[in-house]
């Protein structure tokens, strides 16, 4: 195995306070959780846009495995941010919330996007 000391770039969405700093396509209006220069759908030019803090849970699940720094149990959810992209978040307090539940981004934990219901 190669031995490296460089940490790979953090691929998670960038959060500023209680919003995700993403972008939107000026061509097809598609929202994206990352600061794209060109749209993944149509290659149109994207401009920066902030999404959240509000969103709706698409689904959530308690995870009973240790994953990275996360001790079990913790709760993950796919959340459709209002008029924005779908993002994978950590739910606080830990516990599943039904699809359709309104949640708010409250910040990050070691880089994970955190929401509360």
């Amino acid at each position: 195995m190669p031995s490296v000391t460089v940490e790979p770039a953090d691929p998670r969405p960038l959060v500023d306070g209680d919003v995700v700093v993403g972008s939107r396509c000026t061509g097809c209006t598609r929202p994206d959780a990352w600061q794209r220069e060109r749209c993944p759908a149509c290659l149109g030019v994207c401009v920066s846009e902030r999404f959240g803090p509000g969103g709706i849970v698409w689904s959530s699940a308690d995870v009973h495995l240790a994953v990275g720094h996360r001790e079990p149990p913790f709760t993950l959810a796919q959340v459709d941010l209002d008029d924005g992209p779908r993002v994978l978040v950590t739910v606080r307090p830990t516990g599943e919330v039904p699809p359709g539940t309104r949640v708010r981004i409250v910040g990050t934990d070691d880089g994970d996007v955190v929401v509360e219901s």
Binding site: P8, P11, A61, D62, L65, V67, D80, P85, L88, E96
Partner: protein, 376 residues
């Protein structure tokens, strides 16, 4: 040319951390060559599926069984790596590029991970903690909520497949099948998925030789390969369903057959919810009904449409790159009436499906659906 499968073989499936990875593949390839009554010199090209196999593994495997010197392609398509290898092998024959092609898949997960697969840290969702059971658990909770179903519907899939797997001597987990209550009471893993609803981490290999139809074999009526489209805000179907349906539609169109023509199927049950979503996406069950079909025995051995008579990934295990070819081997044995106690009586048309996933933002990395046999 009309491609057909002329030989199949597999290793045993289990944990073999002290074996050399090549030896797992060699067992499968030699069985397939013997099954086809072919020699290494008869093979024109090879497609090798492996996800976590080391660099150079494709050439090392082939060189050890007299297959050095032919064109060799390594394929990584997550859980569908072996099935994509089969798809490409049959395509090479169908288009006349080659006459006989080997598809082989090999994986030795026991030397790569101590526990479950560690999510890829350069992937946004992997870095956010989305282990594979969690990806499927999110779909399970969405599906159960959508259809107003109890988690017990998931457990019926595990009971059914582990019953079939108890008759498969090559399976990783071939012990006595659990009850629904035992499945539900096993250790929670993610969401409604308990330990007995998750496939084990398995080492193994499988091989399939595709010929051009002039030497008999099991016809590959159609095969399709779809990479998932974007899966994002506004996609209401659970992850993977659009991709599986697209691959299935292409197979129905190319073959002129439909779900009603299928006698037996092997599909991607890495987690119980996977089989449920796939059964419905393939058109083999109405939305919300796949769990009930398992509970009622319709999709069990002896039922109208047995699904995963091998025991599926839940029993055989899931050596990623080998899985699709192990599924194909099972279906070939079924169509030749060589499946012993697991035999599906009168099986003439068989459906194969494998779904590979894990990349953030796409509805699956790869799905292959193929239709085999087809005697009317």
């Amino acid at each position: 040319m009309n491609p057909s499968i002329v030989g199949v073989g597999t290793s045993a499936f289990g944990r073999f951390p002290t074996a050399r990875i090549e030896s797992l593949a060699h067992t499968a390839i030699v069985e397939a060559l013997d099954d086809a009554a072919l020699r290494p010199g008869d093979i024109d090209a090879a497609y090798v599926g492996s996800v976590f196999g080391p660099a150079g593994i494709a050439n090392r495997v082939l060189a050890g069984v007299g297959l050095a010197g032919i064109p060799v392609y390594r394929i990584e398509a997550a859980c569908a790596s072996g099935t994509v290898a089969l798809h490409e092998a049959q395509r090479a024959v169908r288009t006349g590029m080659h006459r006989r092609v080997l598809a082989v898949g090999v994986e030795q997960l026991s030397v790569v991970f101590d526990g479950p697969i560690v999510p890829e840290p350069t992937d946004p969702e992997g870095r956010s903690g989305l282990a594979l059971p969690a990806l499927y658990a999110l779909q399970a909770n969405r599906y159960l909520a959508e259809h107003g179903l109890d988690p017990a519907v998931l457990a019926h899939i595990a009971v059914k497949n582990k019953f079939a797997g108890s008759m498969n001597e090559r399976a990783h987990l071939s012990g006595a099948p659990p009850s629904v209550e035992q499945v539900l009471a096993s250790r929670p893993i993610a969401g409604p998925l308990t330990l007995l609803q998750c496939c084990p981490m398995t080492d193994g290999a499988a091989a399939v030789i595709v010929g051009d139809g002039t030497e008999g074999g099991v016809p590959i009526l159609a095969s399709s390969f779809v990479s998932g489209p974007a899966w994002e805000s506004g996609s209401d179907e659970p992850w993977s369903m659009r991709t599986v349906s697209a691959a299935a539609s292409a197979v129905w169109e190319a073959s002129g057959r439909g779900p009603d023509d299928v006698d037996v199927a092997e599909m991607h049950d890495a987690f119980t919810i996977g089989e449920i979503l796939t059964t419905e996406a393939l058109g083999l069950a109405e939305p919300g009904m796949a769990g009930r079909l398992a509970a009622e025995g319709v999709t069990a051995l002896g039922g109208r449409l047995p699904i995963n008579p091998s025991g599926g990934l839940l029993s055989r295990g899931h050596p990623l790159g080998a899985t699709g070819l192990a599924q194909a081997a099972e279906l070939v044995w079924q169509l030749r009436s060589q499946s012993g106690r697991r035999q599906v009586d009168g099986a003439r048309t068989a459906l194969l499906e494998t779904m590979g996933g894990g990349a953030a933002g796409v509805d699956g990395n790869a799905c292959v659906v193929a239709l085999l046999g087809g005697d009317r």
